[in-house]
């Protein structure tokens, strides 16, 4: 009998020791008469507790032995905003729960991977669109100069239409306007829905092409007339002169404005978020609906855009300086 009691007592001791070590709250109803029990919890856990400025453990915690009265309870966790509450502790059970918010910096750090994922899509969309735009724009730009009225007219129509209408409208025209047309052509009138990625890429490429066309046209026309005359007087054809004399010189002058076009497209591509393209801006919208923290989210988006445009701005300025000396 005695042996059994001893073993039981040791078991209880070990149990209690384990409890204290784990910092687990004691089972409910542990408050003795005239005693106070204060349970402090936080989400997330692991915040340091201060009662009237004195350290009092780490959440979740059970604090005993406070005399009844009013206390300033404060919880602090690195990367989270410190919170405090004035609390009246009465005899018996008391409970307080803090919901901790990340500091702005930590929040922005945490959403950064998501934003960067969006930024990669933004960069990808922009790079492909401007690349397509350069191909379209080179033809359209030359089409504006060539001495064939009909070609001039078509090219001018394209350039003026695109430059004279908002990119947003162009995106809608392709994403929402095209499906019924495609449907009536290929699917007995049932609209053919377009993939947002396809719509975005098409709209941005066509848009970029028009701006690049103007850059190419200006670049070619900025080459002195004498260059064309000298080439032609050697017996070269118009296209030979273009290829070997005019274009090589025009390309140098066209590179800086093309860089600027890239930067502009980087920013304007944000408009494709409206058709659900998951680029930087769309990613941010999704994040905000989840976190309700628009201020830091959009600030973060701005910073990511700046991180992308700033190096290119510097690059363009450097190119401008370099190409000027070699002209």
């Amino acid at each position: 009998m005695k042996e059994q009691k001893k073993a039981f007592a040791i078991l209880i001791l070990i149990f209690l020791l384990a409890l204290t070590l784990a910092g687990q709250p004691a089972p409910a109803g542990a408050a003795a008469a005239g005693e106070t029990v204060l349970r402090v919890a936080s989400d997330p856990e692991g915040a340091e507790i201060f009662i009237n400025g004195e350290p009092a453990g780490v959440t979740p915690a059970v604090i005993r032995g406070l005399s009844p009265g009013t206390y300033l309870v404060e919880v602090a966790k690195p990367q989270y905003q410190t919170q405090s509450r004035r609390l009246t502790v009465a005899e018996g059970e008391n409970e307080v729960k803090f919901s901790l918010a990340e500091t702005s910096l930590y929040y922005m750090w945490k959403i950064m991977p998501l934003l960067l994922l969006g930024a990669v899509m933004t960069l990808f969309l922009t790079a492909i669109s401007v690349f397509n735009g350069i191909i379209i724009g080179t033809f359209a730009g030359m089409a504006r100069i060539v001495r064939v009225r009909l070609i001039n007219f078509v090219a001018a129509l394209y350039v003026n239409f695109i430059r004279g209408t908002p990119l947003l409208v162009q995106i809608f025209m392709i994403h929402f306007g095209l499906p019924p047309v495609l449907g009536s052509l290929f699917a007995d009138g049932r609209p053919i829905p377009l993939n947002p990625f396809f719509s975005a890429l098409t709209a941005l490429s066509i848009n970029s092409g028009a701006y690049v066309a103007e850059i190419i046209r200006a670049g070619i026309q900025s080459i002195d007339r004498g260059q064309m005359e000298a080439a032609r007087s050697l017996g070269m054809s118009y296209w030979q002169a273009m290829r070997h004399v005019i274009l090589p010189q025009a390309i140098k002058r066209v590179i800086p404005p093309l860089g600027n076009e890239f930067i502009a497209m980087l920013k304007d591509s944000s408009l494709v978020s409206v058709i659900g393209m998951e680029e930087l801006v769309r990613k941010a919208q999704v994040i905000v609906t989840r976190t309700y923290r628009p201020t830091e989210t959009w600030l973060g988006v701005g910073l990511v855009f700046l991180m992308m445009t700033l190096p290119f701005t510097k690059l363009v300025a450097w190119l401008e300086r370099r190409l000027k000396t070699g002209d």
């Binding site: 017996g235 070269m236 054809s237 010189q249």
Partner: protein, 241 residues
């Protein structure tokens, strides 16, 4: 060699050439002088169709180059060398590349062959050591000599010079004129629009005096400079000599 019949050129309302008729013989050096705005340059540019004549005919070696149906303009220009007032060298190409571009692209020469010929031409204008320089690194006189070599690279039948020394500093004029004199001595047919009366007097076989879109007077340098018949010629010469 070059026959011009009743050549007219209008720019919208401006009647620049009012009926020019002339004949330049093979090996002849003809200088065209006259006040600015008289149509000298336009006349010259009509000879390789850089300007399209409004009316009249131009024959080069009995081929009517103003006949669009029968004539390939590019072929005509390959046979007529042109040197410009502003040189118009290709700034993105070296002196050598400026000279080889035409032969390679238009004549279909191999690069080695074109380069070999280009060096010979650079020797001729005294600029072999500048072969790999870009035009920006050459003086005006050197640029114009390269431009002459470039025009010669096509082995033209005629050379046209459009005020070749007007954009040059005085000390560089001589080096360009010397190259032109050598060319004249070799028997090249040349039409030169110039303000260089010394050159006209010394080198040319015939001088044309143009004013207001017509050839007012023509003759040997001796006739024209020492014994001008027309009042306008006299007054022009009295101003510049």
């Amino acid at each position: 060699m070059i026959r011009v019949v009743d050549l007219h050129k209008r720019f919208k309302n401006l009647h620049v050439l009012k009926g020019i008729t002339n004949h330049v013989k093979k090996g002849e050096v003809v200088c065209v002088i006259g006040p600015s705005g008289s149509g000298k340059s336009t006349f010259l540019r009509c000879l390789n169709l850089l300007e399209e004549p409004t009316a009249g005919k131009v024959f080069i070696e009995d081929v009517e180059i103003t006949d669009h149906k029968k004539v390939n303009v590019n072929r005509v220009r390959a046979e007529v060398g042109m040197v410009f007032q502003q040189f118009n060298l290709f700034p993105h190409k070296t002196a050598l590349e400026n000279i080889t571009l035409g032969p390679i692209q238009v004549r279909g020469l191999s690069e080695e062959e074109a380069t070999e010929r280009a060096y010979a031409l650079l020797d001729k204008v005294g600029l072999r050591d500048k072969a790999h320089e870009y035009p920006d690194n050459l003086s005006g006189g050197q640029q114009q000599r390269v431009a002459i070599a470039r025009a010669l690279s096509m082995h033209p039948k005629v050379m046209l010079f459009d005020e070749p020394t007007s954009a040059l500093d005085p000390e560089m004029i001589k080096e360009v004129l010397d190259v032109m004199k050598d060319l004249a001595k070799e028997g090249m047919t040349m039409v030169v629009v110039s303000h260089e009366m010394g050159f006209a007097r010394e080198v040319s076989d015939r001088v044309l005096f143009m004013d207001d879109g017509v050839i007012v007077e023509e003759g040997t340098p001796d006739q024209l400079f020492n014994n001008p018949q027309n009042e306008r010629t006299k007054s022009f010469l009295s101003k510049i000599l």
